[in-house]
Point group: C2
Chain length 660, copies 2
């Protein structure tokens, strides 16, 4: 059994709620935060079930036609971890020591806590737990209770608790209270509005033991939650053995070894661990922005999946990639309905959703990010390129056709070419612009892929001519004087943000400035043109000029920004700069760089770490149908080893730093 352990020493911020996120366990279906075993006010316990959300009507101060109708909030449903313990009738309440060891290689968490009662009677609590990947309905725990400095009666009560609404206090647009009063009927729990049900099979203990000093008592609990009222009984030991096997298989393909920088090595493995844990596996669920580890962004699925997570999954865990893409195929009807509602042809995917319906309550930074259509198309095309799985593409091709139809309808042909107006690109610090470079580039790619599929499957030939024409004539803004790619028609005309007079504590800007103030300036939240260049650009000199222009204007207020800049810096041979971006990205949640790891992991950034290593330092690319690498290792990294599944075959790569 391989061991690679994460401990509290690895964390930059060991506040309870951060620890609960980083050590959370999940299996794609359920996620359980590593909350304290004895209830405490600063602890934020939670169990999340992928795709289990409650709806609430969105209230608008001023409503308008076509606005998204409902919030969908992933429910924080149960506390599976808290126990009550009384020593000689005195409650155990004071935490004096804690020690967490997460074995990333096995997906098993070991915890040790020293607690005492007010009068000083001490108990050692030892927990072993995991969210089973073998039986995804099961959260398994083994609990050992030791009387440290007393002999007497120990009463233990542990049963799953329904979590009730708890109004969040601070204003932060990135979190919404996952508050819901689930309706209970027997072992069935139902959301009042969305009418989604969960069934449970909970273990429970409520017992008194006589323990002499240093004596222990041990018990196991398997708490099960399922979308169907069917449960399989599997022993703790069996679940544990299977967990170890599954993780072993995972790491045998997906592990990345970094020689020379233990901090980065740990950061990368934590990230891959969480990616493996929070990805939906059933084709009906996806990957929330915070995985299944916290309530940030309400559990919504964004473009993050396609542009930040799917490269990793596609290259190493294609079955998971297929499952995440299948989700998009399953919500295509909702996307078609949405396009129609807005008066356009084809399909428009929701910017943020679980059900497939648009839930963005601020369309300028939501629905207007129509690039999500092309992001999905891009990910599907990448999946085809890497896996060669044409059977799935045949199933999913409607996504490509319908998104292509949307572009034709949303854009228009002018004397300048095919233009796409009133969109918001990835950089949410400008909104509702015309001809966003990233959007147009991605739409072009979407259209060309549609053309290719139309030819492959010999269908939609007439439309394909229009798609080809729009792609060929796609308009891209370029400033001939400065030789800079225009982020959009108006970006270069804007006033430059006054960075010199912006105090540090005013970042992220979105929490301290009105959108009107932000939008009117040259200031970026995250990679936009630079992301497009990472995906498509061939002219290095152009990329360098754009990088030098846009990066200093970028606040990296979004966790999606640094990784992309790292990849592009690598390709430009700016190895040290690439390393700095990568280091930030690799340890973002361990160091709590964004200050909100308590809301859950930054999943997209975790996928971005993989991009930084593999696309960046290793320069992975396809050349004449073959995988090729290019060595951009920074001096801190002595060697880099990783595997890629290409066309069904596992290929292993090793890069060494020649400077060492």
């Amino acid at each position: 059994m391989k061991t690679y352990t994460l401990t509290l020493d690895d964390l930059g911020n060991i506040e309870t709620q951060n620890v609960e996120t980083i050590f959370a366990q999940a299996n794609g279906f359920m996620g359980v935060r590593a909350s304290l075993p004895i209830q405490e006010s600063d602890s934020l316990p939670g169990t999340f079930i992928n795709g289990f959300y409650e709806t609430h009507p969105i209230i608008y101060g001023e409503n308008a036609y076509g606005y998204a109708k409902n919030h969908e909030t992933m429910v924080k449903c149960f506390d599976l971890r808290t126990l009550e313990c009384f020593v000689n009738d005195e409650a155990l309440s004071v935490l004096t020591e804690r020690d967490l060891k997460l074995n990333l290689m096995t997906g098993i968490l070991s915890e040790t806590y020293l607690y005492e009662t007010n009068s000083g009677q001490q108990i050692k609590l030892e927990l072993e737990s995991f969210a089973s990947h073998f039986n995804r309905t099961a959260y398994a725990q083994k609990i050992k209770i030791t009387a440290l400095n007393f002999s007497g009666e120990v009463h233990v009560k542990k049963e799953a608790k329904l979590l009730l609404p708890n109004a969040s206090k601070a204003f932060d647009p990135r979190v919404r209270e996952a508050s819901v009063n689930l309706q209970k009927q027997g072992n069935q729990y139902t959301t009042p509005n969305s009418k989604l049900s969960l069934y449970t099979k909970f273990d429970q203990i409520d017992q008194t033991f006589k323990l002499n000093q240093t004596q222990s008592f041990e018990f196991e609990q398997i708490n099960q939650i399922s979308k169907e009222n069917q449960f399989e009984t599997v022993s703790y030991e069996r679940l544990k053995a299977e967990q170890i096997k599954i993780f072993d298989t995972f790491w045998s393909v997906s592990d990345i070894e970094i020689d020379g920088d233990e901090t980065l090595q740990k950061g990368v493995r934590v990230n891959l661990y969480h990616l493996f844990n929070s990805a939906g596996r059933d084709g009906k669920t996806n990957f929330g922005a915070k995985g299944l580890t916290g309530e940030g962004y309400e559990g919504h699925y964004f473009w993050d999946t396609e542009m930040y997570l799917l490269p990793f999954f596609t290259h190493t865990q294609p079955e998971i990639a297929k499952s995440l893409l299948t989700y998009r195929l399953n919500i295509l009807p909702q996307a078609k309905q949405r396009a129609k509602e807005l008066g356009f042809a084809g399909a428009l995917y929701a910017w943020r959703t679980q059900s497939g319906h648009e839930t963005s309550a601020y369309y300028p930074a939501g629905t207007a990010q129509v690039h999500i259509n092309a992001d999905i198309a891009y990910a599907l095309e990448l999946y085809e390129k890497i896996t060669g799985d044409i059977i799935f593409i045949q199933k999913a091709k409607a996504i490509i056709y319908e998104t292509a139809r949307f572009w034709i309808s949303y854009g228009f042909m002018s004397k300048r070419g095919f233009e796409i107006h009133e969109v918001t690109g990835p950089d949410e610090y400008t909104a509702l612009v015309n001809n966003n470079y990233y959007t147009n580039k991605m739409a072009q790619n979407n259209l060309l892929y549609a053309v290719r599929l139309a030819h492959t499957f010999k269908e939609n030939q007439e439309e394909a001519k229009i798609w080809q024409l729009a792609a060929d004539q796609m308009y891209f803004g370029y400033d001939e004087t400065s030789k800079i790619t225009k982020q959009d028609d108006s970006f270069l005309d804007k006033e430059v943000w006054d960075f010199a007079h912006t105090p540090k504590e005013n970042y992220p800007l979105l929490l301290h400035y009105h959108p009107m103030k932000i939008y009117k300036h040259q200031v970026l939240k995250q990679a936009d043109t630079i992301l497009a260049h990472m995906l498509f650009a061939e002219d290095k000199a152009q990329v360098a000029r754009d990088f030098d222009f846009y990066e200093p204007l970028t606040t990296h207020d979004s966790s999606l920004s640094r990784a992309i800049h790292g990849v592009v810096a690598s390709r430009l041979g700016r190895t040290q700069q690439a390393y700095d971006f990568f280091a930030d990205s690799a340890t973002m949640d361990l160091s709590d760089m964004q200050g909100n790891a308590s809301h859950g992991i930054h999943a997209a950034n975790m996928g971005g770490t993989w991009l930084g290593l593999i696309y960046g330092f290793a320069g992975l690319h396809i050349d004449n149908g073959e995988l090729k690498i290019e060595n951009h290792l920074p001096k801190q990294i002595k060697a880099l080893r990783f595997n890629i599944l290409y066309q069904g075959k596992l290929q292993s790569f090793e890069l060494k730093n020649e400077k060492n």
Copy 2:
């Protein structure tokens, strides 16, 4: 006593709620809808008190920094008109006839209703009523009840009723239920959140009379409402006599006589009547978009006052003009606070408000309409030009300086000139654009006026240099190829709206299309560049080109649009077209052209009618310090007579149509 009567025959839509709006009575402090005397479900009774609003926190689906915090909704507080009547213990309930006569010359409404009980006992109700302009706390009624076809006991009960919340059903962003449970303590009524109080002195009757057939019974009621607990007792007859005098004085200056077109004559007089009635007189209140006649737009004050109403008041009722401008001076502190909150210098007036605080819950069509600053400055400058009242200007000049400071801070100097980005112009069918022509033109005027005042009052000399520079360098977009003034940087690049495939019932567009769809097209809600041309343009050929380009793209979905197009058409010598716009504008509410007269009058359009006649047909302008006119009468109008108070002196004008 002069008579000029409006009857039901003059209305295009005699549905109850429309009638209640058109025949509403108001005195600047209170407004009383002409609701049915016997309660009926389709009647919408209401008394509105200017500046009496309740606040509710605005709920945002996605909140952000600097968003407006509270709704302010003008309270529909009392029903002063409903009575209950029983004939031999049987309720009077069936309305069989009604006849309304509003004497516009006296501000007195006469109504006759025939009602019967289920068994057919008939009563004639005759009402005379007015909202007193002599004692603005008083709503006076004289009521006569006649037994038509029976003898017996008639029980009459009439007391002011508190109106309770009544959730509105249909979705319409232009209305919000004025629902509030006022807290009552003795004769004091207080809004629970905003803590504003009203005091009342209500008359009440609850009595039984014996009437023989054809016999009558008559009584008077004076219901009083005040912001202070002080009431003066004045007799009905005295109030009536004073009302007649006051209206006589009003019309002696403000009347406009149109020979040859009785429909227009009536439309114009109805409009002027309502303007006189709903204007706040105390410097603490202003003029709601619907006056005091309905709950549309929550009673909010917009730029409508400055750009559509103040020309009329300034030229004929300068005391009212001063009072409306004094309101802006009184809320200057809130405007300074708002600018600061958004990170800008100077003052930014709220787009919609009563208290002075921003209440727009959709900033792209609200706060982003920063042109309101310059609109207020324009109105103040016009007031100075027409009245010469430099004493008031000395008091109010801070408005001009603070708004000038805002422009310097909101805009910036680029190589193209002084640019103003991220604004929404009057045309709300494009939003968040750069260098909106109207905004830049108005800001320039604002800056130049600030420079002039700085010189006059010998102050702010250093700042004045910057103001002058920004004004001199103000950037205006112009398309050299088409010779069209650019509405904004991107307008000419947009796709043209598909008017041919837009069914009639899909207007106004805002109720049938998502903002993203509307904004991305060349389509206008109302005059924008054309409004700027009305105010400033000298090059007729340019105006004509722009008119021919923009007017066909304009839906006139806003009631503020037609009048302005009428004025400009007049000046271009397009007399017939001007007449068509004017005719629409003059009778807009009488004909219920916008389909929502039930929400209240379209006050701005009513002011627009005056613009159409005086700026348009009569071509009024100042030439070398003298008032000049220019005859643009259309063939339908034989003669036009009106007065202007210029520099304190009344000047009378008469234009005759030489073609007749």
